[in-house]
Each structure stands twice: as structure tokens, then as C-alpha cells.
């Protein structure tokens, strides 16, 4: 099953979009972050509204990770401000960001493969029963909730005792997303959730991102993969060498523009030209040496693609 049509249909559903005069869920204004002499971020701005997917695009080293860590309370910005619901905030720790409803799902640091689904789901937020020294982790309750929540996001788990390591990469990411949402996240920051995944697994994750948006969450989707960002993004912010390289709305921009804004576009065109030249150079000699054999080979022509 092709993923794209389903995602498109989901995108057409009217999400619980907040009107534009309501303050954004999370806004970063003119954020700068320095590590010694290194300028990691310089005057970067980004915002996400309820029911929107804000795509943050950038090549490796563009400052994506630094920006996420600033938004999620790991780093404090050297300059600039963060605002939640229009109110300026300062995060001293990831816990502060979590308490403000901002949950970050890191690429491969979101789940423990050796722990069970239930234990992963409630790590750091375990429900308890009993009092005083006899307070204990309410595992039956946790297992029940984990099963329900996994079902809600479309993963039917028979046994929540099963180790997360037995789930696929896409399922692990969706578990982390479902967990963040269950624990009251209003803003989901997803750090390259699809970069280590195959096509089908990526589609599963993208579909869940859109579903979360349609439930009224604000999503910041970090990726360097334009073809994953385009189908699901409401707005696109490009980060290039630590600076905001451009901001676009859905429908205003196509993949070529995004690529060139990311700073990789020129390199990609250059690479395409080089590869085409290389392919032409390789095809010519045998065709010239054995004229009869060339009849079996496709005739070289201007409409012939460089690769088959």
C-alpha cells in the first residue's frame, strides 16, 4: 500500500487549528547559542501552532540538534527568548519543558529496546499504588493503559510484557509519540523520526504525525528529507549554517526550492550533472566497438535517462 494518498487524505481533514490571533503554542524568537568560538545558532526563529506541523529542515551541521535541545530545555539560549502560549519561559531542565507540555522524541534515544512496552511507556511517570514504603509500580494498570494507547495509534499489542526491541523501528517511534501525547504533550518535537527507517516504516510514522496534528497537537518535525517533510508540513523553516534560511507555508514551495534553500540544492544539481556525464562516458565505448551489439542496447538519445 502506497503511503502518500492516505497521508494526503489525512492532511485534508480539518485539524483543530487555533485561530491565528491565538498565541502560538511554542515560539522561539531570535535564538542564538554559542559553544566557545563556535556559533551553533544565530538569530533563529521558529513557531508552532496547535494543529500544525512545522517542518524544520536542514543539512547535517545546520544547527537542528542545537535548536531542538534549546526548545526542550537541555540547553539555555545565549540570546533570544522562548514563549509558551505567548508567555516568555525559561527552561532549566528537560523536566521544565515537559511540564510546559513540550515533549521531545529523539531519533534513537526514545525507547529502551531491552525493556517491555509497559515499562518503556511509563518510564519516569510510573503510576503507583499503596502508601509509604509499600508504594509500588501499578503494573496491571500500566499494562492496561499501554495496551489501550498502543491500540489507539494502531499497534495491536497482545503482550505488553514484550520487549520493545522486538518492535519495528516505525513502531518504536510511534510508541514514543503516543507516550508523549498520553503524558500531556501539546507540542511534539520529533528529531529525525524517519531518518533510520525504510519506506514503509517511514510511512507509518508520517501517518501518525499527521494524526497527532489532527488531534490538535503542535508538531515540530525535524528532518533533512524533503520528501518526508513536503506531504505533511503546514509550514517549513529552513536552517542553514545556524541561521534561518527561509520560511514557507504549505503549497508555497516545492522540493527543488526546499533543496536549494537547504544549501544542498547546488551540490545535488552538480552531482546529477556529473553522474549523467559519467553514464554517457561509460556507455559510448562498447557501442562504438561492436556496432551489431549496440542493437540490443537502448539507443543513446537525448530522452534517455541517465540511469535505468
Amino acid at each position: 500500500m502506497d503511503a502518500t494518498p492516505a497521508v494526503d487524505a489525512l492532511m485534508e481533514q480539518t485539524p483543530a487549528v487555533a485561530p491565528m490571533d491565538v498565541a502560538p503554542l511554542l515560539e522561539a524568537r531570535d535564538i542564538s547559542k554559542y559553544f566557545g568560538a563556535v556559533v551553533a545558532l544565530e538569530g533563529v526563529s521558529l513557531l508552532v501552532r496547535a494543529g500544525q506541523v512545522t517542518c524544520l529542515l536542514g543539512d547535517n551541521g545546520a544547527g537542528k540538534s542545537t535548536l531542538i535541545k534549546t526548545l526542550s530545555g537541555v540547553y539555555r539560549p545565549d540570546k533570544g527568548t522562548l514563549a509558551v502560549d505567548g508567555q516568555p519561559v525559561e527552561f532549566g531542565s528537560p523536566r521544565d519543558a515537559l511540564d510546559a507540555g513540550i515533549a521531545t522524541v529523539y531519533q534513537d534515544l526514545s525507547v529502551m529496546p531491552l525493556m517491555s512496552i509497559t515499562r518503556n511507556f511509563f518510564l519516569g511517570n510510573e503510576p503507583t499504588v499503596g502508601v509509604g514504603p509499600f508504594k509500588r509500580f501499578d503494573i496491571p494498570k500500566a499494562a492496561g493503559i499501554a495496551r489501550e494507547e498502543m491500540k489507539r495509534i494502531g499497534i495491536d499489542v497482545r503482550d505488553t510484557d514484550q520487549a520493545v526491541g522486538t518492535l519495528s523501528g516505525g513502531e518504536r517511534q510511534t510508541l514514543a509519540i503516543a507516550r508523549a501525547e498520553y503524558f500531556g504533550a501539546r507540542v511534539l518535537i520529533l528529531d529525525e523520526p524517519t531518518s533510520a527507517l525504510g519506506v514503509k516504516q517511514s510511512a507509518i510514522v508520517l501517518r501518525h504525525i499527521v494524526a497527532a496534528r489532527n488531534r490538535g497537537l503542535g508538531v515540530i518535525f525535524i528532518t533533512h528529507n524533503v520528501s518526508h517533510a513536503l506531504p505533511i508540513g503546514d509550514t517549513f523553516t529552513i536552517l542553514s549554517r545556524g541561521k534561518t534560511g527561509g520560511q514557507f507555508k504549505r503549497g508555497e514551495v516545492d522540493d527543488t526550492q526546499l533543496h536549494s534553500q537547504m544549501g544542498g540544492g547546488d551540490e545535488l544539481h552538480e552531482l546529477t550533472r556529473e553522474l549523467e556525464a559519467l553514464a554517457r562516458a561509460e556507455r559510448r565505448p562498447p557501442a562504438a566497438a561492436h556496432a551489431p551489439a549496440a542493437a540490443h542496447a537502448p539507443a543513446p538519445g537525448p530522452d534517455q535517462p541517465a540511469s535505468h
Partner: protein, 362 residues
């Protein structure tokens, strides 16, 4: 492709799970390998004993069983704490030195300073717990591997025991007056044993170490499996960064477990000091490796995030059986190290095979 424009996501993965049998479920537990190892060790010494002396062999007698249970208990008391620490992704190589050091503190308190036995024991326990916490603090603060940090403290603590002892005594141990121990509530508790009448006027006894071991193991199983803190232990070991992102106080968990390891060393030191009525600077030498071996046989991963307290108790049982089984069978005691090394290797291979095959983990 209009047929695919369904909004509801499918249930991916549900067709990828199969029903598994009860036996497979059992083998998917981290302690499964340790249970197999214990049965294996028991059968070997059972066979040797029966071949040598039939069913009257000492290994099979009640006295013999209580003897190897006592040996298992002494390893098991510290191995439980070491296993929890390993599940949290850290090592403590200083635990053997800590056993010696805590004993020396008790000896100095009782014999040199003439303090009550209970006060000396409490003092040593507090100090060992504090030093354990210091180990943890250094590891957490520097971010250095605990293997290196505690290797350093292994030397420092062992050296401190020698230096301290040399300032108060011309010899390398401190004798403790048995009557003082017997008349002190805490001293008597750690030196206690439950006598049992055997047929024909013979007696044996259950050492208090066995009760402490069972108590500590039961509490450990409960904490790891049924409490928030237990969930944090596994999470911290699985990935410190991810656990921190989820709000788990990673540093506090690790420091607490290092402190617990120090405390468990002092418990063992109290048992040994009161039973042998002396403190020796060399006591506890090599225990750190026994404890790690036990935890690994019990199914704990050196890399953290996975392990079992129940498995560790079984690992201690296997170690105790092997050590005393060799003694009872009149085999040269040098074979013990060969046996333990072999056991460790077999257990690691078995455990990793079980993890792959039955728990579906790599």
C-alpha cells in the same frame, strides 16, 4: 488509488506476533539461564557425590547443603547490590576492598576505641555507604567509566585499610573479643545461627548469612520488578540520556545504587567480623569479581539495562555449590577457579543464546 484513502491507520505489526508456548515464555525471562546453570551444577556434583559415596555423600546431606548455602549467601549478599548496579549500567570493582575496609573500621571501633559493637557496626555501615556514594558521585560528575573510577578506589580503599591498621596494630588483623560480640544486640544478630538437631546427636546450623541473603534478594526482586525505582534502574542502564529526557533522576539513581553496594559490603563485613571474631585487611579480596561473575551468570548484561535479581541469587547458588562441591568431593581446590571460569563462559553463551532465541532480542 482511491481505495487507499482510508484515514484510519492499519494495525501494523499485529500480524508479526505469534503465540508462544509457556516454555518459551519461561525461557524469555532473564533468570532462565541461571536456573539451567544451577540445575547443571547440581547434577554434576550430585553425580560425583553418588559415584563416590552414594546417597550419604556430604554434598547431599542437610549439613552440606547448609554449608554451600552459607557460601552462596556471602557472595549473594553483595552480588544482589552489584547486579542492580550493573543493570543501571555501572560497575563497582571496589566492593571487595570495601568489605575489608568496613571490617577494619568495626575492628578499630570495638577493640581499639572500645566502642559498643553495635555502634562500631553502624559506624562502618555509614562509612561504607558514604564511600559507595562517593564512588557514584565521582562517576556521575566526571562521566568516566565506573570500571576505571572504582578500580582506582579499589586500590585506595584497600590501601587505606592497611594504613589504618598499621597505625593501631603491629599485625595485619584486629582481633575482636567474642564475649563483647555475644553480649551486644547487633553483634549477636550478625554472629547468630539457628541450630538444628540431626539424628544421632549430631547438630548443624543455619547461618544468619542465609537469612540476610534471602531477605536482601527478596527485597531486590521486589524493588527491581515492582517499584518505580526499579523501573528507573533498568531505564538508566538502558540509556541514561533517554531516561533523563523522560524525567528520571539518573544521577540520583546511580549514586543511590553505588551507596547500596557499599552498604551491602558492610553487611557482609559485619557477618564475617563477628563470626571470625577478627577484622583482616585482606578480607574481601577478589569478591568484586565473584560478585560480577554471579550477576553475569544471573543474566545481567555488562552493558546494563537488562538483568535479574532472582537470576543473581541463582548465580550465587551455583557458585556456592561449585565451590563447596569441589571441597566435599576431595578434588584439589585449584579446580574451583577452572570450574568458575567455565561456568561463567557457559552461562554467558547460554544467556545470550536465550536472549536471541526466546526473548527476541539481540
Amino acid at each position: 488509488m482511491t481505495s487507499t484513502t482510508t484515514a484510519a491507520p492499519r494495525a501494523p505489526g499485529s500480524d508479526r506476533l505469534r503465540d508462544i508456548s509457556l516454555a518459551q515464555r519461561f525461557l524469555g525471562r532473564p533468570a532462565a539461564g541461571a536456573l539451567i546453570i544451577v540445575l547443571f551444577v547440581f547434577l554434576i556434583f550430585f553425580a560425583i557425590s553418588v559415584a563416590q559415596r552414594g546417597l550419604d555423600a556430604p554434598f547431599l546431606s542437610l549439613a552440606g547443603t547448609l554449608n554451600y548455602l552459607d557460601v552462596a549467601a556471602q557472595v549473594g549478599i553483595i552480588a544482589t547490590a552489584v547486579a542492580l548496579l550493573m543493570i543501571a549500567g555501572e560497575f563497582d570493582l571496589s566492593i571487595g576492598s570495601m568489605v575489608g575496609f568496613a571490617g577494619i573500621i568495626m575492628g578499630i571501633g570495638i577493640t581499639i576505641w572500645n566502642l559498643p559493637v553495635w555502634l562500631s557496626i553502624v559506624m562502618a555501615m555509614a562509612l561504607a555507604t558514604f564511600l559507595g556514594a562517593v564512588n557514584g558521585f565521582i562517576v556521575v560528575r566526571t562521566g568516566l567509566p565506573s570500571f576505571i573510577v572504582t578500580l582506582a578506589t579499589l586500590f585506595i580503599i584497600r590501601g587505606a585499610s592497611s594504613v589504618l591498621t598499621s597505625t593501631v596494630s603491629p599485625i595485619t588483623y584486629i582481633p575482636v573479643d567474642p564475649t563483647k560480640i555475644a553480649s551486644d544486640p547487633l553483634g549477636a544478630l550478625f554472629a547468630w545461627n539457628l541450630p538444628i538437631q540431626l539424628g544421632g546427636g549430631a547438630t548443624t546450623s543455619i547461618q544468619v548469612s542465609i537469612f540476610f541473603w534471602v531477605l536482601i534478594a527478596v527485597v531486590g526482586v521486589y524493588v527491581l520488578g515492582r517499584t518505580r525505582f526499579g523501573n528507573w534502574i533498568a531505564g538508566v542502564g538502558g540509556s541514561g540520556a533517554a531516561a533523563r529526557n523522560l524525567g528520571v533522576p539518573v544521577a540520583r539513581v546511580k549514586i543511590a545504587l553505588f551507596a547500596l553496594t557499599g552498604f551491602s559490603a558492610a553487611v557482609l563485613a559485619a557477618i564475617q567480623t563477628t563470626r571470625f571474631t577478627s577484622a583482616d585487611i585482606l578480607r574481601g579480596t577478589g569478591y568484586e569479581l565473584d560478585a560480577i561473575t554471579t550477576a553475569v551468570i544471573g543474566g545481567s548484561l555488562l552493558t546494563g539495562g537488562y538483568g535479574s535479581v532472582a537470576g543473581t541469587a541463582l548465580g550465587a547458588l551455583a557458585l556456592g555449590m561449585a565451590r563447596q562441591g569441589i571441597v566435599f568431593a576431595d578434588i584439589n581446590a585449584d579446580w574451583y577457579k577452572i570450574a568458575i571460569g567455565t561456568l561463567l563462559l557457559v552461562a554467558v553463551v547460554l544467556n545470550s543464546w536465550i536472549r536471541r532465541k526466546f526473548a527476541g532480542l539481540t
